[in-house]
Every structure is written in structure tokens, then in C-alpha cells.
Symmetry: C2
Subunit: 285 residues, 2 copies
């Protein structure tokens, strides 16, 4: 097994991946902000199984954080990340400095698709503009065949899929299932912010989603009643700041009245000072 190589410049990652592609190798791309957990690793494993070469990127993207968000304290665990990626047989890591991605004079952004305006877009203005921009740049630098993202960031996966469609980007997007702790908590780099008490409280997110699934299975079709049940479950756990808890069209994220099409339940709330999100596709009636 050849060793994992780390590349830090835009020119070098472009040259290296272009050469591999010209040689007929398929490339799987796993964009991350580092602080890798089993969720990220599941994407790398999928890419490893499906592509000739696997490229992971590690870049804590400043443009997707709001001014009052956790950019500066976002966990950075580069050495550990590289060990994990090497163990999984990842071929290349692109880990650029901030100036390499946003050099002086940088001023072109993606105006993200309509689906970016809702939910996270309301609570994190500018977030998807930053996500869209950095993802587009990575797609241009690394001419991959497939890029892998997690369903955990459900709205992000739609933003990227719609951007790829609208801008005719020659890449396939594969969305991989959410990974959870045995007690249900969705894996997230931000879970490490949680105190033991908050960690218990945070279980309300996945519990509320399981309950929503059960309500649908038991025949409930009123989306607002299901959304109310989500909020009740979060509130009952003592979570006071709920950004949203909703049942929406799985493609547009438009709020639903009735479950008459593929739907997703999404929650975002603050547990202590940590903002957590989770979601679950609802069973079709």
C-alpha cells in the first residue's frame, strides 16, 4: 500500500489529480473540515470501495462560519486525521492553508440555489454561500468522478446537488447515511463540545426523529402534528433554544401540511452553547 501523501497547494493537487485522471484512474473525493469521526470515515470507505484513487480534503472553511460562530474554536486534529485516513487507504490529502484557498483579492462567490434560503439559511446567513463556494473550488481543483457527502447535513447535500445540476458540474454526488452512536446521537465533530449532562440532553434530537418515524408508520399524515411532536420531545428534554423542528418536502425543503410526497424531518437546536442538527427521511405513506 503506497503511503498517504499530503498536498497543500492548489497547483499541486490540480496537477496530481489531473495526471491520475488522464491515466484513466477514477477519483473519489471526500471533502471535510477535519476533526474526523466514523461518519467521515464511512465516506472514505465508500470512496475506497468505488474508485481507483481516494482524495480527502481537510480545510476549516472560514466563509461558511458566521461572525458569532465557532470558526476559531472548531476542532483541528490534523495529525490524528492523517493517521485515520492512512489506515483506510486514502491516497491523497489536500490540506491547504487559508490563503491558498482565499488569496488576497479573492471576491467571486457562489450564490447558492433557492433551497439554501430556508432552515439553516435563515439561522446561519451566508453559510451556504461559503459552502457552495468552497465546494465549487474543490471540485474545480480536484477533477473527481464522484464526491461523497453525509446525509447528516441534509440541506447541504441538497444545496450541493442543486448547484451541481444548475452549474452543469461534471461530477456525481453520492450522499451516505448518517452514522450514530449506539444510543442514537448522530456523529458530529461538534459533539466533543458537549458536557456529560449536555450529551444526555442531546439524545432528544435523534429520539424526536425516531418518534416522528413511528408516528408516520402508525398512520399520522399531518405534517404539522409531527413537527409539534418533534418540538415537544426537544422541549421535554429541557432544550430551550430550538432553531427549527420541521417536516419538509425532501427535495425543496418547503414545509408540508400533509405527507403526500417524499418528506424529511429536520431539527436544529442549541444544547448548552453547542448547536446540533439531525434529520431523518420519513417512511412513505
Amino acid at each position: 500500500m503506497p503511503a498517504l501523501r499530503t498536498i497543500t497547494t492548489a497547483a499541486a493537487i490540480h496537477a496530481e489529480t489531473s495526471a491520475q485522471r488522464a491515466a484513466g484512474r477514477s477519483i473519489g473525493l471526500v471533502p471535510t473540515m477535519g476533526a474526523l469521526h466514523e461518519g467521515h470515515l464511512s465516506l472514505v470507505r465508500r470512496a475506497r470501495a468505488e474508485c481507483d484513487a481516494v482524495v480527502a480534503t481537510i480545510f476549516v472553511n472560514p466563509t461558511q462560519f458566521g461572525p458569532s460562530e465557532d470558526f476559531s474554536r472548531y476542532p483541528r486534529t490534523l495529525e490524528k486525521d492523517l493517521e485515520l485516513l492512512a489506515e483506510l487507504g486514502c491516497d491523497l490529502v489536500f490540506a491547504p492553508a487559508q490563503d491558498e484557498i482565499y488569496p488576497p483579492g479573492f471576491s467571486t462567490y457562489v450564490e447558492p440555489p433557492a433551497v439554501a434560503a430556508l432552515l439553516e439559511g435563515k439561522h446561519r446567513p451566508g453559510h451556504f454561500r461559503g459552502v457552495g463556494t468552497v465546494v465549487l473550488k474543490l471540485f474545480n481543483l480536484i477533477s473527481a468522478d464522484v464526491a461523497y457527502f453525509g446525509q447528516k447535513d441534509y440541506q447541504q447535500s441538497l444545496v450541493i446537488q442543486h448547484m451541481v445540476r444548475d452549474l452543469n458540474l461534471p461530477i456525481q454526488i453520492t450522499i451516505c447515511p448518517i452514522l450514530r452512536e449506539s444510543d442514537g446521537l448522530a456523529l458530529s465533530s461538534r459533539n466533543r463540545y458537549l458536557s456529560p449532562t449536555e450529551r444526555q440532553q442531546a439524545l432528544a434530537l435523534s429520539r424526536s426523529l425516531r418518534q416522528a418515524e413511528e408516528l408516520v408508520r402508525s398512520g399520522l399524515r399531518e405534517a404539522r402534528a409531527i413537527a409539534a411532536a418533534l418540538r415537544n420531545e426537544l422541549a421535554a428534554a429541557g432544550i430551550q433554544r430550538i432553531d427549527y423542528a420541521t417536516v419538509a418536502d425532501a427535495q425543496t425543503l418547503a414545509e408540508l401540511n400533509t405527507l403526500d410526497r417524499p418528506a424529511v424531518a429536520l431539527v436544529a437546536c442549541h444544547v448548552g452553547t453547542t448547536r446540533l442538527i439531525d434529520n431523518c427521511l420519513l417512511p412513505l405513506p
Copy 2:
């Protein structure tokens, strides 16, 4: 010489150009809105001389026209355009319908670089958002090695170059000189709107720019004095609606006080109901 082929679907142009590139052929791209004149043809000739395959696109892009602009009456001369392209040995024309580029649900745009906010950006709000978006889409659909644009749209050429740099687009941009009628009028698809009287009046644009060049050659360094001379020349010809007549930094388009760096003179004005633009790089002191 193989015949010119016209392609109208995004999928087909992508498949065809990808196959050519995979076979090792270099591709030159000439994006146009049709109504081709010798200026466009000079781009095709340059591409023909430099690349293995030449792809021209003909698409009157609705998103770059303002609501009160000339989108609906913009000249459309497809048959004549195809004849001209065939004569020059162009290999492929991509001439999509509007829905092929902007299908229902389309909502992702380019937020263009800072240089787009000035001059044309002030007088044609949204223009460069539309230009940037369609050019990015064409670059993604047609994986060209080089794309050719005319210096006539000087600010557009900067917007595209800055976008390519900022978004790491794997394409080279070549800007080709302005072509002029023997009396100086810069070639433009919009010249056909001009009445004989307006056609004479329109000569003031290129005349004002030649005068600016001469003033610089004769030692004038005050940018504002040169800009005043531009305006005087236009006004003297009876042109009443001048959008701008300015001397600016050739890279940023920031207005200059003194000619202490590479500079460009740019004019935009209305001759009758026709809006015309022209520009000229100024000789270095």
C-alpha cells in the same frame, strides 16, 4: 474538412467535447451571443490556429439583460452565423434553447468578483451575475483548454479572468484585440441598430479614445483631465447620455488620479436608443 456540426443539448455537447479531450485533442472555445461579426470571427480564427478543435457557442443569454434592455430585439442570425463558422473551419457549434441552459428550478448563480461592481455593473445591475453564470456553465459543459473573448468588453474580460482565478477554473483565458471599421467604430452586434446619422455620431467613441492616447503620448498624466477630454469629445458630437467616460486601473478598474500604472480608458454612452461601449489601453508613461 469535416462539416460543422450543431449541437443543442447540454448532455450531447458535454459528451462530445469530453470524448475529444480524452482523445488528446486540445479544445478552443468561443462563447458568443451570435449575430456574428468580424470581431467574433477573429476569435474563431485565433482558436483555429491554436487548438485541435474549435467549439463556438451561440446563446442569447437572458440573465445578462436587464428588464428594460434589448433582450427580445437582440439580433438573431443563426443561419448566417453557421455559414460563417463553417467557412472558418469551426468544428462544433453549441446552440441551445433557453430551457436547456435555464431549466425550471434553476437558481444557482455566480456572485461575480469585485471588479463587476463598477462601471457596467452600476449601469447594468445584474449584468455580470448573468455573464459569470452562463460562462461558468459553458466552461463546465465544454471542457476547453482555452476560451477566447474580445477586449471590446473590457470589464467582462476582467470579470471572467478574476472568476477563473477565484474559482480555480482549469481553463486559460485569451483576450483578443478590438476590431474596428476603417473609420474607427468598434465592431458590435448592436451597430446594426444605428441609423446613418447615429452611425456618424457613434464615431465619437473611438475618436475620444484616440485623443486620450494622444494626450498621454504628449505627456499628460492627470487621469481626470484625460477623462474630461473623453467626455468633451462625446458631448461635442451631440451625445447627451454618457453612462461613463473614465480612466481606470487596468486590473481593478479603480478610477485613477495619476497615470502611474497600467491604465485603460473606457466609455459607455447612448447614441439614439443604442447603448455603445468602447475602450483602449493607454500607453505606459
